[in-house]
């Protein structure tokens, strides 16, 4: 590339940056959004729409359940969240991290497990879904290690030699560090199942735990 071309390229990129930084307000409150300054990562990020409500910008402007409902990759998760009546709850809990399984992740789940969960929205389904939520926004640098979920059980994130991340040794982050108004989202390729005994007292009660301390 000649320097002249490089120069033109940089000016073009610079104009993009200037414009991009100004992607502020398509609604009266969109300019209120703030979040950590970092980019999403992962192979599946390219599947996120370039614009509209399901794009990274669209998702950053709204709370997490609303953001997920605009993303076609996450429609089964949204169905499950709706069935459990957790939409407003996830939208109005401040500063959380959500591990969001894709539609394919739900398809890969044992159908009997999924059916059992959907048949018990307030119990098992809520337990499984809240096992995907951790208090606080976890930055990529802080991912590796155990995290106590709002269900009460721990999940463990490990980094592989190739730099990718696995959760509980089975699921992979396929697009991570997606910002929404109240949550940082890691899109994953497997549904996480909590240990059925409560890991700590006072956790989101699972059916088995409802009579425990």
């Amino acid at each position: 590339m000649s320097r002249r071309h490089m120069f033109l390229g940089v000016i073009a990129a610079g104009s993009l940056l200037m414009g991009a930084a100004g992607a502020a307000a398509q609604s009266p409150a969109a300019s209120m959004v703030a979040g950590p300054m970092a980019s999403p990562f992962g192979a599946a990020c390219s599947a996120v729409p370039a614009d509209g409500a399901g794009s990274f910008a669209g998702m950053a402007a709204v709370p997490v359940a609303t953001a997920a409902s605009a993303n076609p990759l996450l429609s089964t998760l949204v169905t499950a969240v709706t069935a459990a009546g957790l939409g407003d709850t996830l939208n109005t809990t401040q500063d959380i991290t959500v591990f969001a399984p894709t539609n394919d992740a739900f398809t890969a789940l044992d159908p009997a497990t999924l059916a059992a969960a959907l048949a018990d929205p307030k119990g098992l389904l809520t337990t499984v879904l809240t096992y995907h939520v951790v208090a606080g926004r976890i930055a990529p640098e802080a991912l590796v290690g155990p995290h106590t979920t709002l269900q009460g059980g721990d999940l463990t994130v490990a980094q592989e030699a190739d730099g990718s991340y696995t959760i509980n040794g089975t699921s992979h982050i396929i697009c991570g560090n997606v910002q929404t108004a109240n949550a940082t989202v890691y899109i994953i390729d497997g549904v996480l199942l909590p240990p059925m005994a409560p890991a700590s007292p006072g956790a989101m009660a699972s059916p088995a735990a409802s009579t425990a301390p």
Partner: protein, 522 residues
Amino acid sequence: MQPAQALTTSPVATPRSHLLMGAVAGVIAAVVALAVGELVAAIIGRAASPIVVVGGTFIDATPEWLKSFAIDTFGEHDKDALLLGIGGTLLVAAAILGMVATRWRVVGVVGVAGLGAVGAVAALTRPIAMPIDVLPSVLGAAAGIAALMLILPRPAATVTGVRPAGDGSATRRRFLVTSASFVAVAALATGLSRVLTPAPSAGSLLAVPVPDEPAGPLPAGVDLGIPGQTPFVTPNASFYRVDTALVIPTVDVATWNLRIHGMVDQELNLTMGQLLSRPTIERVITLCCVSNPVGGKYIGNATWVGVPLRDLLEEAGVQAGADQIVSRSVDGMTIGTPTSVAMDGRDAMIAVAMNGEPLPPVHGYPARLLVPGLFGYVSATKWLTEMELTTFDAYDAYWVQRGWVQEAPIVTMSRIDTPKPLSQVAAGRVMVAGVAWAQHRGITAVEVRADGGAWQQAQLASVPSEDTWRQWSLAWDATPGNHRLEVRATDGTGAIQTEARAEPFPSGATGWYSTVFTVVGA
């Protein structure tokens, strides 16, 4: 030096030291251009500095195709990131320009001129543009070009490869002297523009008027005092802010005026003194943004002092058919309000004080419009300076141009503040509490149900009028396990808040708020 010459006669690469000097020259030139731009803007007294006009243009344009790129790059898109993005981009571009200009000076000249042209075009397309607004960008760019040309090391040595002994240190000395000079110029220009710009905390200039018609003390029991519940009055510091202003307008109250014109019998042009010589009222009014989602927090309640809007409109004499009031802020924002609503006797006002203080700059100092019962984007113009009587057919205000509805009364809504979502509470008697609102219709009932069971009537707190939100509470017997509570309100017309879910766009969110949490055994 001619670029063609440089291209054909330079087998020798530009020395690294020259590239570095070029980059520094470019950055200094950009800083000089911005500083001179700020100074010129301050001298002509216009909010037209290059960064402000370019930033404002981007906020208004918001090209969809750039949005994902913004988040890719910044992970956020608030106003600070915008300023940072523009400034940073400019500096990077300038550094590259400077490096390229060490070989091809014309590129430097054209590049800086081009950036100036971007600023000038942005200035001319702002809603409050005047021809003079191009001056900051044009003169800033001229200063930047001068700085770049004078600081850049002479390219002769680069072209020929001949570098006589001592030339290097002479070049460096000249570079350092000119660089330092222009940094001083930039600092001087910045300092001068600060002196010439009115301080943003101009609040002390306007005293809070003693209202002719005070609101009186709040009735006992507006605050139920339940831990975790939203307080009845929202402190100014935590009052929500939603507007399009990239830079908070600084308004000198001594030169501020309010013009009421258009379809009126007699145009009014009022100074602040003249405005406040009219009777003033004090009212507690809850303000809410149409963007507020179900369970959201873009709502606040304050005590305001101002001049009744109806008095001013009657004084001006609204002509038949003028069904819309288009109000404008000093930075060109437009908001359209139905004339009939403004005139129907409710406490619509030009407010100048908020919770006993002059309006804070972010809330519209020195004056803003308030119309109880309407969403902010059709009623709550900040930094108000103009009201034009016109028709809805003739003009679409800012958000209406972007697809939001023309007339937007507040939607009846309720929220559970405590227990918090996904929290744990101890089994037994739990106080469930929150707020509900339907400004200007008022709230007459709030009901809560657990896990889809029977609705239970909540206790309502007292309120000073139907123009505020209303606290509520319910003592609920909690048993261990996961529970989901829902809430709904009834407004003063007897209508129950709708269960149907709607997103904020285009007329306000609807639906019953719910929250899920865990009750743990005692």
